[in-house]
Amino acid sequence: MPSEASSDRRGRQKLDRETVNTLVVFGLSIVLIVCSRFISPALGSWSQVLTVLILASFLIILSFGQGLVILIGGLDLSIPALITLGGVLTTTWVGTSDAGVWYMLPAILAICALVGAVSGIGIVWLKVPPFIMTMATSIVVASVALGYTSGTPRGGSPSALLWLMKAWFLGVPVVIYFTLAFILFGWLLQNFTALGRRLRALGTNRNAALIAGVGVNRLELVPYAVSAACAGFVGMMLVGYSNGATLRMGDSYMLPSIAAVVIGGSSILGGSGTFIGTVGGAILLTTLGTMISAIGLSEGWRTIIEGGIIVGALLVLRGEFLTHIGNRMLTRGK
């Protein structure tokens, strides 16, 4: 082993990669909003910014769950199905009647979380790869939703959700306050709690976390349950937003939920990333989406751009990955 002076020279950098990435993503969002004025005068106005933020709030909440799953090195492909499940159960079980809304909504979230936990059980105990297990859960849930509603969900939104999505307070929509609170909560949970720290340890190196005394098996269920609950909640928000549910209401959210996390600086291999970065990624993606619609590009182009962004972000983040591999080879050499 070389002397300490030579090998410990790197020290703490003032700005680590995560911070830089977060700043870049937020910066890009602002630049985009400003630039969008050139495309259409309606863009970039205060009300337009608020609209973008409302649309971004769906993605922010979804990508918190997806982010936790990616943090432990997994991938959740069941998000669209759980959005639909949350939405359909809300309109059919509660609906406009508001019957028992105060315990029904939490109960629906609990059901969603349970579905997520089932995915987790398949991944941990049946050793099914995460993307396959969540894909299987997804198709089962979608099928149940289809069968349950016979193809056409009925019912409207409970008034509480209408209030959440439509009401304003001090010139700002209520949902934005809610999202800000959620961001604070998510950021603290992921980066400054024992749970978040353990999840990060699990994602960094499952084996080392196990040996350090972390109960990895049960812990691994948590992100899947949280992600499913977040998706279910977004389903409820969408019900409030459009006053109804459809079977395809979640379809367009799967790729953005992954893209937001990856753009936000999390490693797809797990073990790194902050929720603040993910929030930046979600806002950037939503801004971009709004611009694409304004230019009049079709759904196809939008998808291509999203795919390109995911690959581009992965390539940019790869530098870190390569140093990681370099270190690993070094240890093998020792």
Binding site: M133, A136, I139, I258, T303, G308, L322
Partner: protein, 330 residues
């Protein structure tokens, strides 16, 4: 070097090894299932029913065959969904009739698959991305392209393709089946090339393979390109089946290919398995669906069935792999 037994396991004859390999097991399941099907529906033994079954299974079988190449090299390829959708809409939007047109279409499908596979291979082998992440990206881009070309289901596939490829040769041999036979023959030749043996080597242990002189990135890129070409042919055959274009035609393939691969005895952890098993696995999945839904279960619940079969196939594959680990059978 994980699976080193303290004592050499008893050797088994090649025949016995083939029988208890994943391929042997799935072949047995297929035959039993077919017998059951014939028991319930006596016309199952007719040429018509068999041709129909082969036609239905071919696109999935080819896609699963392609996926197998990547899985053996220890990777996952999600781009299958994108390539199948993209080639399907191209077939429907730009139909080329006649045998010459069919050949050009086929080559075009192969070329698209090869390009996507090459991009995947470069992203993974040269640029160091994880297979799931890289192929997720290419899948999305391909699906986007498919939507740009055709934004809603529609279009018409050339009649020659539709009729000829679903027909039989001499009234008994399904033409679609010939594609499968061709894929199997090519595979059997490929696994006796240096690259083919290298494929198993990098799937078992990339570092050891490198230390043994295997050109790791070259083999990995070959696997992705080969897979892409097979997805292209799968898209071609799917178009012949459906006779129309659908920009999301490939989406169901994503799940079903992995189920077919696992059912065919190729463990998702790499280094083992066979393309033949995956083709039989795909056939078994389609047959199973046929057997169960001939009973008249509401099609609303197809997804429940598929989800459970997927998980069960993986668990089954894991179990077989564990049982076979000591008695290596590639």
């Amino acid at each position: 070097m994980s699976a080193i037994a303290a004592n050499p396991a008893p050797r088994r004859s090649p025949f016995w090894r083939a029988v208890i390999s994943g391929t042997g097991i799935v072949a047995l399941i297929y035959v039993l299932l077919y017998a059951l099907y014939a028991f319930w529906q006596p016309d199952a033994l007719s040429v018509y029913t068999f041709t129909d079954l082969v036609n239905n299974s071919t696109p999935l079988a080819l896609a699963a065959a392609g996926e197998t190449l990547v899985v053996i090299s220890r990777g996952f390829d999600l781009s299958v969904a994108g390539v199948v959708s993209l080639t399907n809409v191209l077939m429907a939007v730009y139909p080329l009739d006649g045998p010459g047109g069919a050949l050009v279409s086929l080559l075009m499908c192969c070329a698209i698959g090869a390009v996507v596979g090459m991009i995947n291979g470069i992203l993974v082998a040269r640029l160091g991305l994880q297979t799931i992440a890289a192929t997720l990206g290419t899948m999305i881009v391909c699906q986007g392209l498919a939507l740009v070309i055709l934004d809603a289901p529609g279009g018409m596939v050339a009649d020659f393709v539709t009729y000829t490829l679903t027909d039989t040769l001499f009234g008994v041999v399904p033409i679609a089946g010939l594609f499968l036979v061709a894929a199997i023959v090519l595979w059997l030749a490929f696994r006796r090339t240096n690259t083919g043996i290298g494929l198993y080597a990098i799937g078992a242990d990339e570092q050891s393979a490198r230390f043994s002189g295997v050109a790791v990135s070259g083999v990995r890129i070959t696997a992705f390109v080969g897979a892409g070409i097979l997805y292209g042919v799968a898209g071609f055959m799917l178009s012949a089946q459906t006779a129309t274009g659908n920009p999301t035609a490939g989406t169901p393939f994503l799940m079903l290919t992995f189920a077919a691969v696992a059912l065919g005895g190729t463990p998702l952890s790499g280094g083992r398995g066979s393309l033949v098993g995956s083709i039989l696995g795909a056939g078994t999945l389609m047959l199973l669906q046929k057997v169960l839904f001939s009973g008249g279960v509401s099609s609303f619940y197809t997804g429940i069935f598929q989800g459970f079969v997927l998980v069960l196939a993986i668990v089954f594959g894991n179990t077989v792999a564990r049982l076979l680990r000591k008695d290596d059978a590639r």
